[in-house]
């Protein structure tokens, strides 16, 4: 579903992502881990077509994001860490706008939006202006807008900011449920306990280079001393830094 080949990005002299080669399969929950400045967000920006790679390529759902951007973007959904939402639109108006961007039929979009808004618990505030929403409500609205067009691939950048424990649990369950239905989830996070809980596979990136990929058990096995994923992560990235 997601395939990158030697995906590289330079910012001037600095190499932000260095020849990243990775495959994430259909229906897989892939967690992308790395310390601050490791290259996670740059990778996500290249996968979503916001940044042009300096080298290599990224293919999503069979479409090269650089050569067929519109087709690729049609099958992906993206949730940034601090989502941009039009402050002067209401939740419902924003959803209708997103449906238009994805060229959904009005009836289909309305029906799906209603279900999602109710599921995320923001149906009763959907007619309020977004500028009056709390951070958590904005995050939930960005989830609704992301899943509105039923994307086959979902790219999520640190989605837990601003969510309370109940909603974190809900989002975890929701994303897992979607993977069971065949949606591929590519999630960047610092919350290792959650990654450990939900991920089918994990990738660890540091200084732009992909260090390891594997299941949680495989990653744990790489550590010199057995421990939690957090211990292993710190050991691996520490070694690399040294």
């Amino acid at each position: 579903m997601i395939k990158t080949e030697k995906l590289t990005k330079h910012f001037g002299e600095k190499v932000a992502v260095d020849a990243l080669t990775l495959t994430v399969n259909e229906g897989e929950f892939f967690c992308f881990l790395g310390p601050n400045g490791a290259g996670k967000t740059t990778t996500i920006k290249m996968l979503t077509g916001l940044l042009q790679p300096s080298g290599g390529r990224a293919v999503l759902g069979g479409f090269n994001i650089q050569q067929q951007p519109v087709e690729a973007k049609r099958v992906i959904g993206y949730i940034p860490d601090s989502p941009f939402l039009y402050e002067k639109l209401t939740g419902n108006e924003f959803i209708r706008f997103v449906a238009g961007l994805y060229q959904m039929r009005d009836g289909q979009a309305a029906q799906r939006a209603e279900g999602l808004l109710r599921m995320f618990g923001i149906a009763d505030v959907a007619d309020q202006l977004i500028e009056d929403y709390s951070h958590g409500m904005r995050q939930k609205l960005s989830f609704v807008s992301c899943f509105l067009h039923e994307p086959r691939i979902v790219i999520v950048d640190e989605p837990w900011v601003g969510l309370d424990p109940k909603n974190i649990r809900f989002v975890k369950d929701f994303l897992r449920e979607r993977t069971r239905e065949g949606t591929t989830v590519f999630m960047s996070t610092h919350t290792l306990s959650i990654a450990e809980e939900v991920a089918d596979r994990i990738g660890i990136i540091n200084r732009g280079r992909l260090l390891h990929t594997g299941t949680v058990a495989e990653i744990r096995a790489l550590a010199k001393n057995p421990g939690t994923l957090e211990d292993v992560f710190l050991e691996l990235t520490h070694e690399e830094t040294e």
Partner: protein
């Protein structure tokens, strides 16, 4: 549903909500803006109307016995204005396109959606048109109205003005967007010095092209008509869209509908062609340019004690801490905020135009004492208004800008009184450099009498204290700690009140001086002693007023901050 329609509908909803939100804004602010906007529109109308009336009477007098050149002069003047607006629109569209197409917060959101770069461009392009061109509509409507009334034109002139407006603003918007798309693709790859050099050459060429056109006011009357015809001939080029618009509107006013329709279609077809060309260009070069800009190495290293800002601590060593730390921090934050700069550049641009005009006025011989006195008073008003612009825009938000960082200051071994005092003195010291300098320089350039000169300089010095007291005091009395944008802080309730009180203060200071100086110019006093006593009373009144403007708001603001919970 069409993607373009989805974007358009969302934008229309946003506009609707923005308009509706006016009801929730401060009534004082809405009233001030409405009154000022209406006054500006009416003022512009009368300015244009009297200008056109003067042109008509001048043309009729000059052509006595021969052909009437009043109509030709009016048409040429409209051509000059249209050409000036056309070039200004191109320039403003270059700047606005850059922020709208590349820097706006919604750009990444739209780009991650399944829309083509062509459609992305078109959806953002109309915003550029609206942002850059509303002022043309606001000031163009009184112009057309004044032209029509003074020239007794047919009602079709107003209809044509309305119809020509959209294609006329679309043409420079498309040209500006094309320039921006090319610059964003090429600029990051070029050295800054090369681009600055090219920019200077472009502005120089433009200036040379229009220099004659805008120099005619300095000619003597006997050669003025020939010179006007010659200089404005360039605005009549059939290759200029401004000419098509001006000619088409005038033809409609003269009931020459065939000519008007031809010019209209010419303008519309060119507008459409340029929009199409810009959209096709965007489809090809927007993304590489955007990605290159987003992918630049943004690491900015600023070592301590290097560069001008790095040496500020050393420069202000004579100041005791914590005042020094606060001053250095305020200067660094100001300098590193590009939104503040742009305002500063506009401010100095206006100042430069003012100085250039003083130069022209100063060259003329002003015989009558009364007029010299009037010019001196107007100059005091200008200097103090410049000062109030500085304090309202840059000083008033200083306390609010501490914003969510207030806890840092709150925990520091520093009293609120020290903080407010630091803001006050920073304001007085920095604004004095500009405004006292301006008062001295303008006074010298105008050659005003000594008494006028010293009174001007004294007024500006004392106004620095009064206006800084108002701005800092009201900034502390009405702080807005939730907002990081200085422009929005200024547009709130406190900012509006500060603006109104500053204008009121200036009116009192300038009014008192005008009375005493006119009295002196007209020699209405019975003895010189009487005049000096009256002058002393005026100076004492201005001083007392300034002390009140300084200390009362500061005290109120200080009390408010000291009782505030963070």
């Amino acid at each position: 549903m069409s993607q373009a329609f989805a974007v358009f509908r969302a934008k229309m909803r946003i506009v609707g909500h923005e308009v509706a939100s006016v009801r929730r804004q401060s009534k004082l602010k809405v009233a001030v803006i409405t009154v000022f906007a209406t006054a500006l529109w009416i003022g512009a109308f009368f300015l244009f109307y009297s200008g056109f009336r003067w042109l008509i009477s001048f043309g009729e007098e000059a052509s006595r016995g021969g052909m009437n050149i009043a109509d030709i002069l009016m048409a040429r003047m409209l051509g000059v204005l249209a050409l000036a607006v056309f070039f200004m629109l191109i320039f403003s569209n270059v700047l606005i396109s850059f922020s709208t197409l590349y820097r706006a917060k919604e750009v990444p959101y739209l780009l991650q959606g399944p829309i083509t770069y062509r459609l992305f461009f078109l959806s953002r392009f109309w915003e550029c048109v609206a942002f850059s061109s509303w002022a043309v509509g606001f000031l163009g409507s009184p112009l057309i109205l004044a032209y029509g009334i003074s020239g007794h034109a047919s009602w079709t002139l107003y209809l044509a003005g309305f119809l020509f407006y959209i294609p006329f603003i679309v043409v420079p918007a498309a040209i500006g967007a094309i320039i921006t798309l090319i610059l964003a693709r090429v600029f990051p790859r070029q050295r800054t010095s090369v681009m600055i050099g090219l920019g200077v050459i472009a502005v120089g060429l433009l200036f040379l092209y229009i220099q004659d056109t805008f120099n005619i006011s300095r000619l003597s009357q006997d050669v003025v008509i020939a010179a006007v015809m010659d200089a404005t001939a360039r605005t009549q080029s059939p290759f200029l869209p401004s000419f098509w618009a001006a000619r088409g509107i005038l033809a409609a006013g003269g009931c020459d509908y065939g000519e008007s329709l031809f010019q209209f279609l010419l303008l519309v077809s060119n507008a459409l062609l340029l929009v199409w060309a810009a959209a096709e260009l965007a489809q090809r070069i927007f993304y590489p340019g955007y990605s290159f800009l987003a992918g630049q190495d943004k690491t900015r290293i600023k070592p301590l004690d290097k560069g001008i800002l790095g040496r500020l601590d050393e420069t202000f060593r004579w100041l005791p801490n914590p005042a020094r730390s606060l001053v250095v921090k305020d200067i660094k934050l100001f300098w590193r905020d590009p939104t503040q700069w742009s305002q500063f550049v506009i401010f100095f641009g206006i100042l430069a135009i003012y100085m250039a005009n003083l130069h022209t006025v100063g060259r003329g011989e002003i015989e009558k004492e009364m007029w010299r006195s009037w010019i001196a008073c107007v100059n005091i008003a200008s200097c103090t208004l410049v000062l109030s612009t500085l304090t309202s825009r840059f000083v008033f938000p200083l306390i609010s800008l501490e914003g969510q960082r207030f806890w840092i200051l709150g925990l520091a071994p520093l009293t609120i009184r020290q903080l407010v005092r630091q803001k006050f003195w920073l304001s007085v010291c920095t604004t004095s450099v500009f405004t006292v300098g301006l008062a001295v320089l303008s006074g010298r350039m105008l050659g005003i009498p000594r008494i006028h000169f010293w009174l001007s300089v004294y007024s500006v010095i004392i106004a620095n204290f009064g206006l800084a007291g108002l701005a800092v005091g009201l900034g502390a009395l009405y702080p807005n700690f939730r907002e990081d944008n200085p422009a929005r802080i200024v547009s709130g309730m406190g900012g509006t009140l500060n603006f109104l009180l500053s204008i009121g203060y200036i009116a009192l200071v300038v009014g008192a001086q005008t009375v005493i100086l006119q009295w002196w110019a007209l020699e209405r006093y019975t003895s010189p002693q009487m005049f000096w006593w009256a002058l002393a009373v005026v100076v004492a009144s201005i001083t007392l007023l300034s002390l009140g403007a300084t200390f009362i708001p500061l005290r109120l603001g200080l009390r408010n901050l000291e009782h505030m919970e963070f």
